[in-house]
Amino acid sequence: MLKYLYLAARGTGQAFILLWDSILSLRELRKIKRPLIEQLEFFGTRSLFLVALASSFVGMVSSVQTAYQIKDYAPLDLLGMGVAKVVMMELGPVITALIVAGRVGAGMAAELGTMRITEQIDALETLGIDSIRHLILPRLLAGIIMMPLLVVLADFVSIMSSAIVSALYLDIPFSTFFSGIRMYFYPIDLFGGLLKSVAFGFLIAFVSSSFGYYAKEGAKGVGIATTQAVMYSSLFVLMADYILGVILYG
């Protein structure tokens, strides 16, 4: 038990040192142009298809389930409003974050872990290059920048797929669906979700980078780091979702 507490405390300490050093290395932002572009592409561009595909199903199932729940109590004209709110405030950011935690988080931890065990991180340091500035900072920035953009895409695809399913199977015309959204739209619904996505993007990049950067004990260590990166990224996303939910909408 004591051993696990010690390991948890050490891991937390290491992660915060990593974060602090990343913040300090913001002074040399101009030196990370190239790795930042690579990470923006890895985090964002290569996640587009998966996020869009998953979001389309989220939108479709939201229509069906919302209709099922409200049909006895409220007119189906309000379906668009209900789906849009739940997508913008909750499902868009959270589902996107969980997908990205699986795809990007695992990739980051595996890449950094492999660099650690093959001494590539040491090689950077011996060349006089700050490995945290070169490897961690671009990942953190990519997470913070790309996650809200992915969530905008996810929101759009979810709402559109929901509108299509509503029109085809629930006989709700597009005009009715979208007028419901317009009538009850509050900017906080959208911007609250986007604010959450910034936090999620940061958390995924930070947690995954941290596990990868401090990986050890060969291939087995990289495997452990990758698993833990996905597991803890997802967990922290859900915890942050609750905390931000209370602050924003509570």
Binding site: T114, Q120, A123, T126, L127, G128
Partner: protein, 243 residues
Amino acid sequence: MIEVINLKKRFGEKEVLKGVNLTIEDGEDIAILGKSGEGKSVFLKHIIGLLKPDEGSVLVDGIDITKLSKRELYQIRRSFSYVFQGAALFDSLTVFENIALPLRERAFSEREIKDRVKEALSLVDLDGIEELYPAALSGGMKKRVGLARAIVSKPRYLLYDEPTTGLDVITAWRINKLIKKINKMEGTTGILVTHDIRGALYTSDKIALLSDGVIAEIIESSRYKEAKTEKLREFLEASGFLD
């Protein structure tokens, strides 16, 4: 000049370095010999500040690098290059980008980077492979690219961590010849960690034996037959250099 004073390092229960003392003059080339697991690589990593000692100092030109901040250490490291046992090339970068990386960090012009990379690759007899990725290279080629990356910034101190381990005899000998050529470049101080005694005697002015966590003996390479300690004599005998 590098001075290592009473360097101690422990990993858990195991005390790897028990008080290493060593002085390396400018322009000198020294090989640190020792059995596997004696802490040779650990010692080398202390010299460039990759590891912090539990006790002791490493003075580089009179500055104790064990007490420097991270930023100050990066400045000192600009005088160093380190050749890794497994080459430690960056998988995601081409050979050109691998070698150019330290120069980009120091804001060299693109023209100068191109010229220097070409020159470094030529020195290790690997012209024309700039666009290949490390995955496409053999073990020997990777080590030579690692050497090219180490010399491209024209460092004062070159540290080699088992550069011939895992190579066939011919390739290992080629690497040794390259190391000798690089060590003879003006103003370069070389520290080679190895258990390849033939390579050590060929490339270095002096050999030192690291044994039981301390430097057991230092001797000029040309006078290896006069080795005094039993441990170094045993090492030389085992390699066929003493009867």
